[in-house]
Symmetry: C2
Subunit: 226 residues, 2 copies
């Protein structure tokens, strides 16, 4: 297809497509005539993915590059971690990985999760991401509030495990081997970018649900006016 | 305390404190001498909160202003929604609230959640946020994949409800009335900013846990070499 058709099908303007080609996000089309290039279906699929990463994920061009590069690789825990890191803007904590405080927190996280039956590798970016998030929260926790510890996060861990079971639990390794690697990675990226906002939105709405139920309980318990 | 002490206690540089005062995020200190101002404990608490919103939440100055303004108000579903909107950068969808497609999605979301026993108000920003997130995912879903519907999101909704129950379920409306309103809003803001990254991180690590368990199941089922 021509660039104008590619633009219409993907919902991305021609100047933006040209910008992505210059930035190396999208391979150039095949030269069909001196001033005309032809684009294939792979261009369209890749362009749609870039659009989701930009518009829904809010990713910058360099993060999109990392994600697209990961899609070309054989899936593995390191590549999955690379994708996850690119998808979440790292927040700054006062603690760097490997420092004494960081290692103490990592021990605490690992011990708690292991005692809850989790299997994981400490060396993956995904594990480090949990420790970073935990340390950021712990260091910002108001000192006058009840102390913040990882074991107190058990309800979140249980909810996360419930979700992962529903996502992966039904799949067998043999089934997975029949899915092309590139497709598997694309699923991982889309399920992270598209599902995470829904999960957070639902958690907030669930708070509304519980608050409404709580207020009603309060009203029911209130003695009737004399 | 002096500005230098405020800076040391909060871990925020003096020029940054002066910038926050110019931007109206922090009230100026009380004039103690022509060239010296005194800051109270409220300044320190507010400054620490601003720091968390910037460093952990990644919020811009105008979003921080919205959150701080909400903290001054009496808590209610609209104010909670205002805080939630400020805390999540809105992603762009092709569908605007109130359009035909948006209303159809809102009906679908409302019907599913109601059938699962949720109570909610359709008019709150929190409900609209769920519809936005759902529509963003639905519109970006690859057409060749199994169709995407809200009822398929039930495991996420169940997990979100489990979390909200553990957060709010034990509290009674009467207990809540003894907590000062400003403190309640501060808890809401911090629990959103600090806990959401942990929840997402745990979900990713739970995927690793399930993947490792799946691969091991695959190995156990594999017949031994002859």
């Amino acid at each position: 297809m021509r660039i104008s058709e590619l633009s219409r099908h993907a919902g991305v303007s021609v100047p933006t497509i040209k910008y992505y080609i210059r930035e190396g996000l999208l391979p150039p089309g095949a030269k069909a005539a001196p001033n005309q290039a032809q684009y294939a279906d792979e261009h369209l699929q890749r362009l749609k993915l870039i659009r989701v990463l930009r518009e829904v994920g809010g990713l910058r061009v360099d993060a999109i590059k990392t994600v697209l590069a990961a899609l070309e690789q054989r899936p593995g825990l390191e590549v999955v971690g690379m994708v996850h890191s690119a998808l979440s803007p790292p927040w700054s904590t006062r603690f760097s990985a490997g420092s004494e405080e960081w290692n103490a927190a990592a021990d605490e996280v690992y011990a708690a999760l292991t005692s809850w039956g989790w299997e994981m590798y400490r060396e993956t970016p995904t594990f480090r991401y949990v420790v970073d998030a935990y340390l950021a929260a712990k260091s910002a926790w108001p000192p006058e509030w009840p102390p913040f510890s990882f074991t107190g996060l058990r309800p979140y861990a249980a909810a996360a495990q419930m979700i992962a079971k529903s996502e992966i639990g039904g799949t067998s390794a043999t089934q997975l081997q029949t899915v092309p690697a590139a497709d598997l990675m694309r699923r991982l990226v889309l399920s992270t970018v598209l599902i995470e906002p829904i999960l957070l939105a639902l958690r907030r709405l669930a708070q509304q649900d519980q608050a409404l139920k709580m207020w009603r309980r309060g009203e029911e318990q209130r003695p009737a006016d004399p």
